[in-house]
C-alpha cells in the first residue's frame, strides 16, 4: 500500500481507473466501496469534480425519458395523512423508523387513526358526535390507514368477547410514544340499568382500574392514558354504574397485550 501511494505511475493508473467510474457514479449504480473510491478521488481532483457536474446534469435530465403517469388518486391523500401524522410525532428520531403493524381495519379503528393523524399535536381530538355515515367513509378511511405507516409505534390489538358476551369484539389502537390508547368495542350489549362496563389493566395477575367504558350504543371510543407495555392484558367487566375498586361482575371482553396479538 505504501509503495502504491508513492508510485506516481501506479497512482495515475489508479486515478484513471477511478475516473472511468465517474459516469456510473453519476448514474448511481456503483457499489459502496466503488463509491468511496470515487469520492476520495474527487476530493483531490478538481478536474474530475468538474467532469462530474457535467455527468450529473445529464442524469438530472434522464427522468424526463419516463412518461408521466397519473398516480392512483389515493396516493395524494395517503401522503398528506402521513405528513400530517409526522407533524405530531416527536422530532429527532433516529434514522430507523418503526412501522405500524399491518392493521385489521374496522371503521371505528380507522376513524380513530385518522383523527389521531390529523389532531394529535394538541390532543384536541375532535368530537363531532356520532359517526353519521360509516359505510361511506369506510373505504376512504381504510386507504388512509396505510399512510399511517409513518406513525411510529402504533400498535393495534384485537380484543375478543368471553362466553358472557360471545359476539363482542373490539380493538385497542395504542400510540406508544404518547402512552395513549383508544379502545373500540362492537356488538357489546348495552349494560343493564344501574350497571356499567369497566376497563381493567392486568399486571402480574392483578386488575388495575382503567375507568369506565364509553356506552357501547354511542359509537364512541374509550381513551386510555397508560403505558400499555407494563401490562400483560386488558379486560372489561360488568360493574355497578360508577365503577368498582375491584372487578365483581363477569368479564365480557379480554385481550392479551402481547406481540402475538398485535
Amino acid at each position: 500500500m505504501e509503495d502504491f501511494e508513492h508510485d506516481g505511475q501506479q497512482s495515475d493508473a489508479a486515478d484513471d481507473d477511478v475516473a472511468d467510474l465517474l459516469p456510473a457514479y453519476a448514474l448511481g449504480v456503483l457499489s459502496p466501496a466503488e463509491r468511496a473510491r470515487v469520492e476520495a478521488h474527487l476530493a483531490r481532483d478538481p478536474t474530475s469534480r468538474q467532469e462530474l457536474v457535467g455527468f450529473a446534469t445529464v442524469v438530472a435530465h434522464l427522468p424526463l425519458l419516463a412518461e408521466e403517469r397519473d398516480p392512483p388518486a389515493r396516493l395524494r391523500q395517503r401522503l398528506i395523512t402521513a405528513a400530517t401524522a409526522d407533524l405530531a410525532a416527536p422530532a429527532g428520531r433516529g434514522g430507523v423508523r418503526r412501522w405500524l403493524r399491518r392493521p385489521r381495519p374496522s371503521v371505528l379503528a380507522a376513524s380513530i387513526l385518522l383523527l389521531v393523524s390529523l389532531g394529535l399535536a394538541g390532543w384536541n381530538v375532535a368530537l363531532q358526535g356520532q359517526l353519521a355515515d360509516q359505510q361511506r367513509l369506510a373505504g376512504q378511511l381504510r386507504t388512509q390507514i396505510a399512510a399511517l405507516q409513518a406513525q411510529p409505534r402504533v400498535t393495534i390489538y384485537t380484543i375478543g368477547g368471553t362466553p358472557a358476551a360471545p359476539n363482542a369484539r373490539g380493538e385497542v389502537v395504542y400510540l406508544g410514544e404518547q402512552h395513549t390508547a383508544f379502545l373500540t368495542v362492537q356488538n357489546l350489549p348495552a349494560p343493564p340499568a344501574g350497571r356499567a362496563y369497566q376497563v381493567w389493566y392486568i399486571q402480574d395477575g392483578r386488575p388495575i382500574d382503567a375507568g369506565l367504558l364509553a356506552a357501547p350504543g354511542d359509537q364512541v371510543a374509550t381513551r386510555l392514558q397508560a403505558d400499555l407495555g407494563q401490562y400483560q392484558a386488558l379486560a372489561v367487566s360488568l360493574e355497578p354504574s360508577g365503577g368498582s375498586p375491584q372487578p365483581t361482575g363477569p368479564i365480557v371482553l379480554q385481550a392479551p397485550l402481547q406481540p402475538g396479538n398485535a
Binding site: L21, L27, L65, L79, A221, L224
Partner: protein, 221 residues
C-alpha cells in the same frame, strides 16, 4: 379540524372520543390556483416551515413525473406508489435541513425516487430508511436545469439526444439508470467485456452532455 366539542377526562379516568368524519383540511381548488404561481423555491421554504399544503402543491406539480419514473423503473403500480410516497415523505422530513444551493427541489425529489426505486429493485432488506442527503448529493450539485426552460423542451431535448446515440450506448445508459444495473451486470446482460461497458457508458454520457449543451436546456447560474 372542524367544530370540536370535548369531553374532558377527569384525572386519570378515561375520556371518550367521538369518531368524526374525515374532512379535508384545506380547499383543494384554492390549492391548485395558488399552485400555478408558486415557485418550487417558495414551496421548499414553506416545507421548511412544516406547511403540509406546500407538500400538496409539490405533489400536484411533480407527482405525475415522479410516479412515471418509478413506474418505468419498477413496472409495478403498487411498488411505484410506495416509492413515490416514500420519496415525498423523504422530502418532507429532510426539508428543514436542505440548502437550496444544493439543487432544485425537483432534482432532489427525482433523485430520491431513483434511489428508492433502485433499492427496491435490489430488494435491500433495509431499504425503508430515509435516503440521506449525502446519497443524492452527486445528483444535486448541478446547475439548475429546471428553471430556464419548460419541462417539455427539456423532455424533447433529452429524447432527441438519446435517440442520437448508437443503440448499444442507449441500452447501456438505460440499463444503468432505469434498471439499476451495475457495470458488471450490464456486461453480462449485453454479453460484452466490462471494459466495453465502461467505454460505452463514458462515451454515451459525454455525448449526451454535448448534445444537451447545444439545446439551451443546459441552464447555468
Amino acid at each position: 379540524m372542524g367544530p370540536v366539542r370535548t369531553h374532558a377526562a377527569a384525572g386519570d379516568r378515561p375520556g371518550t372520543v367521538g369518531v368524526a368524519p374525515a374532512r379535508s383540511q384545506v380547499g383543494e381548488g384554492a390549492i391548485r390556483m395558488e399552485d400555478e404561481s408558486t415557485s418550487d423555491e417558495v414551496l421548499l421554504e414553506r416545507l421548511q416551515q412544516r406547511d403540509v399544503r406546500a407538500l400538496e402543491h409539490l405533489y400536484d406539480r411533480h407527482g405525475r413525473l415522479a410516479y412515471g419514473l418509478a413506474y418505468r423503473m419498477l413496472d409495478d403500480a403498487a411498488s411505484a406508489e410506495d416509492v413515490v410516497q416514500e420519496a415525498f415523505l423523504n422530502i418532507w422530513r429532510q426539508a428543514p435541513s436542505y440548502d437550496q444551493r444544493r439543487g432544485t427541489v425537483r432534482t432532489w425529489l427525482l433523485s430520491i425516487v431513483h434511489h428508492r426505486a433502485i433499492d427496491w429493485l435490489r430488494s435491500r432488506a433495509n431499504r425503508r430508511g430515509d435516503v440521506h442527503l449525502d446519497l443524492v448529493e452527486r445528483s444535486l450539485a448541478v446547475p439548475d436545469t429546471w428553471h430556464a426552460v419548460s419541462a417539455n423542451v427539456e423532455r424533447d431535448a433529452i429524447r432527441r439526444a438519446m435517440a442520437a446515440l448508437p443503440p448499444e450506448q442507449q441500452r447501456t445508459v438505460e440499463l444503468a439508470y432505469f434498471a439499476g444495473y451495475s457495470q458488471p451486470e450490464i456486461a453480462t446482460a449485453m454479453g460484452v467485456p466490462l471494459s466495453t461497458v465502461k467505454g460505452r457508458m463514458r462515451m454515451a454520457m459525454q455525448k449526451l452532455r454535448v448534445l444537451l449543451e447545444g439545446t439551451g436546456t443546459w441552464a447555468t447560474r
